[in-house]
């Protein structure tokens, strides 16, 4: 069975050596002293390693079970959920007013990585609740907030998001779920929603569904979509639970992975719903939830890669097979461990350099969200909005690839469910799909975010990299050559791609869209390259300052050099593809495929 160890030291490095959080002016960051964050991370690490990780394979094997309308979660989930609630983890970064601990989002994100890595299917129950609570927080009336948030922040009640219908996922304008206005101001919701994560289960007293539906008589298409709060049990004025609402689970989907999460078909049959936010502005309200969810899904990509890598590494050190080509390294054993072999090393370094780079990337992203929310920093908001599709799309695409590489280290054992490596890939696979399939993320990036606010945010991004390189260069020729030059080249590739889109996308938008996924990946590489350069600098500083943990920082520098030499140059290939334009992509008539 796979193990899980929370990367406490690595997170501390990013927060304190790289992002230098306590020096930040973001409200609340001054409290994030190293001892304090370390205590939280250690505690979360213990919980995730000891409680959640052992339930991961249980959830995979047992799955969820639907009997007479009741969904039973896998053995142990309910008890574990109680312990998670008891520890106050769900409300870590939620407002104190509703029972949360009001910590910065960066802390929630770090802890979120641990939870997801230990047990993604389990963590989704609270993750969806967090997203639904955020949407109510942003768009609900005071009465709605008071009615729903305290129990959602504590996870006494959980939440869901209901977008997809059988005939429409991305294109929500086609949705058929209807909302009929009632005399008391509520609505009757009728329709079917599919792929509803945590849609029904036995771990909470109530489930608060956020449901997109069209108010009868409203505008056609996406402009007629509104968002509704539909509780499983009607909440009475005094806060107690009333009658069962007209929402029921139709079936549990049989999925490739995340078996421990109940992905449901939900039927709304004249269910009572309350408008959340404005009429016909449902997409805007839903996007509050979606943006947070997309970052969370990016973290899932990282987290599955991290957990899979930890196990692959342990196996590579333990499994004896063959001899090092440069001379026996384990003379007393029947063979050398796998890790002596260069191709295994390559795979492990791919994984390690991705995982650590991605971790820095999401924590940086979370710090920008904190700056936006806590300091009202509009530039930070614009920048993280630009990078959200990259965090989601790139980290889940590559995160998935890394779970496949981790599985490969196990050879045949990787294919046997008993070893647990298959589950990492099967669970990681969903993250490329939900909350907007990665092709949609690429479209969002290239078709919308690049040009947002007149292209201001992407220009700011390039300036950031340029300034960083300028300020960091010239002190250490080796660092310049191994870190800054590759970053400069990659950043230049990305700019050239943006330039190509501008010059060729006008006359034919397909020239931009045919390169959208390549662009998203380039962008991700540049972000990770930037993170590695920042980590490299931080490591150099720690070494210069005479750290007592030189090995840790030397390892950081070596890992960064690997990323720069072996991964970052992928931008050139992406650029070549982008610059080949749409002609070869769109050449065929559909009938000729």
């Amino acid at each position: 069975m796979p193990i899980y160890t929370a990367p406490v030291k690595d997170m501390q490095f990013v927060l304190h050596d790289v992002l230098n959080v306590t020096a930040s002016s973001i409200p609340g960051y001054d409290e994030l002293e190293a001892d304090f964050t370390s205590a939280i991370f250690e505690e979360a690490g213990k919980l995730t390693s000891e409680l959640l990780a052992p339930l991961n394979t249980v959830g995979d094997k047992e799955g969820c079970r639907l009997e007479n309308g009741v969904v039973y979660t896998p053995t142990g989930f309910k008890d574990a959920f109680a312990k998670v609630k008891e520890g106050g983890w769900p409300g870590l970064d939620m407002p104190e007013q509703y029972g949360g601990q009001n910590m910065p989002y960066i802390i929630g994100t770090a802890v979120g990585e641990m939870f997801s890595a230990a047990n993604q299917a389990f963590t989704m129950y609270q993750g969806l609740t967090h997203g639904a609570a955020s949407a109510i927080l942003a768009h609900g009336s005071d009465a709605q907030k008071d009615m729903f948030l305290p129990n959602m922040v504590s996870c006494e009640w959980t939440g869901t998001m209901n977008l997809t219908e059988p005939h429409c996922g991305t294109d929500l304008g086609m949705m058929r779920t209807k909302a009929s206005p009632q005399a008391d101001g509520s609505f009757k919701i009728t329709g079917q929603k599919i792929f509803i994560s945590s849609g029904e289960h036995d771990m909470a007293d109530n489930i608060i569904h956020l449901v997109l539906a069209k108010i009868e008589g409203g505008p056609e298409g996406i402009k007629g979509v509104s968002l509704f709060i539909v509780p499983k049990f009607i909440v009475k004025e005094d806060g107690s639970l009333g009658e069962r609402n007209g929402v029921s689970v139709g079936s549990i989907e049989d999925k490739m992975g995340i078996h421990g999460n109940s992905t449901c078909v939900m039927n709304y049959d004249g269910a009572t719903g309350y408008l959340l936010g404005e009429e016909h502005k449902g997409m805007r309200a839903m996007f509050t939830m979606m943006n947070e969810a997309r970052l969370g899904v990016g973290v899932q990509g990282l987290s599955q890669a991290a957990a899979a890598y930890e196990n692959a590494l342990a196996y590579a050190k333990d499994r004896l097979q063959g001899r090092a080509v440069t001379g026996t390294e384990n003379p007393n054993g029947p063979a050398d461990p796998l890790i002596v072999h260069p191709d295994i090393r390559r795979s492990l370094m791919d994984q390690k350099s991705f995982v650590e780079g991605a971790r820095a990337f999401v924590l940086w992203g979370a710090s920008l969200i904190d700056a936006a929310h806590r300091s009202g920093d509009k530039d930070a908001d614009g920048l993280v909005s630009l990078m959200t599709p990259v965090i989601k799309g790139f980290l889940t695409d590559v995160g998935y690839d890394m779970t496949v590489k981790a599985q490969q280290v196990y050879g045949g054992h990787g294919y046997i469910e008993e070893w647990g490596m298959s589950q990492f890939t099967r669970d990681a696979r969903i993250a490329m799909i939900y909350e907007g399939a990665n092709g949609v993320q690429a479209l969002d990036l290239v078709g919308r975010k690049l040009a947002q606010d007149g292209g201001k945010h992407v220009m700011a991004f390039f300036d950031l990299i340029k300034t960083f390189i300028k300020e960091s260069a010239g002190q250490d020729a080796e660092f310049d050559a191994t870190y800054l030059d590759p970053l400069k080249a990659a950043s230049k590739d990305l700019q050239s791609a943006g330039m190509y889109f501008m010059q060729n996308g006008m006359k034919n938008p397909n020239n931009a869209l045919a390169g959208s996924t390549d662009f998203m990946h380039m962008f991700g590489h540049v972000c990770l390259g930037y993170m590695w350069a920042k980590m490299g600098l931080a490591a150099k500083k720690a070494l210069a300052d005479g750290t007592s943990d030189a090995e840790f920082y030397e390892t950081k520098l070596a890992t960064g050099r690997y990323y720069m030499a072996r991964q970052l140059p992928a931008t050139a290939l992406h650029l070549t593809r982008i610059q080949s334009g749409a002609d070869t992509v769109m050449a065929l008539d559909a009938a000729n495929f």
Copy 2:
């Protein structure tokens, strides 16, 4: 449920337009007239589409069941196996002497793609039998051939290959299974083997296990390994079945995919075995089987990609979602089909250009095997030996990626087992692992095959490409620019990588091995680029000759241009990685990971 349509037209194109088989001097090729091969392919296509494909999801859902030592295959497998035997398919390319049809291997390979695409788990029962029969054919005594081959060629009896033990897979020198010589010349085999595909089942009267074991008192390590024939039931002198041998199934592995194939733990408890080939030369004998198996596994990579692509394409044409950015294409529908979107196109073109290129590649490889076996062509033998790890490693790595892309086209539905797209990825995943994990293929290519016979075969490969480009260039500037220039550049990259290995691998072999997987992928791209250039030329010729099917050939040309513009340039990235050497790969001590 997924559909399957055999690519008869495409195979005919490769055989007749590209490889021009009837003009070949290989014995038996003169009979391969277009009408003849078309009749075979149509018949195989019918069988695979109508009989095997519908059983694919059945096999996945039901899996195999072990009860009291008996393994039950999924519903319908037994009947289907009977029909396959009845049609004589298992012996298609086996010698007439033993009941086969003696067709060239190229025909067996084409039909093999169809079988694997329709139902990989099912096809493995006959695939392993074919491999075991080939080993007996190559290394068995006349008595052994007479005793086993007729029933194996017909698949009345099936075969297995037993290499792996719990503590050793790649490093077979560590194996513990023992063979004790008996007075009658037979051996008693004792030990445990794992991951034995088709190890036990209910579809054949007898199962002929080929088992690697160490004869007691023999040399240590790999030099003491011999190969044995261990039948499930002892075969009596008169050919009838005698007593049950001391071999039994310990358990069925719970795998990520290919559930319809019984992957068994096999226990040998003093089982009677007969030496196949020479004492202590077991690896050599096994490699007869392995090389064939590796080609077959490469075909699996292609076949899963082909089947997944067919379904993704159908879904992309059918599923309405969003509108084309360049203007509505389906004004009477609520939305346009997915296929209008450039990023979906990109994915479909990736798949299509890989599948068709890979198909040509394996058929070319099969023709080289025919040249080697039927004409004794040593150059062909050397070339295909060089390319075998590429066919296995590259086609299964990329084939798997393509099944993931196909699954992605389905969005959320791709993750739901009901739609069948998950199975393609889960089934395809094993091909990267078994018959030598792909890292081992890369090692075989770079560490052994490149230098084989003084590097003669790789030089021949480069000459082949160079001559082809020289002979094809200068007639059509557009073809030169879109096909030949990219091929030339990619081939140059591959040569540069080989040069780097020569110059740097001597002083440190890690410099070569750290780039082995990248080299294998470059090599694969150059092979597919070469195939596309040959297909492009053939298409141009057909068009010039005034074909009545211009659309087919124009589509070929457009698809090839896509591969050349968007896929082949990957060689530059691989070269960059290779030329970065082993330093960053091997920098860390194992303890510092």
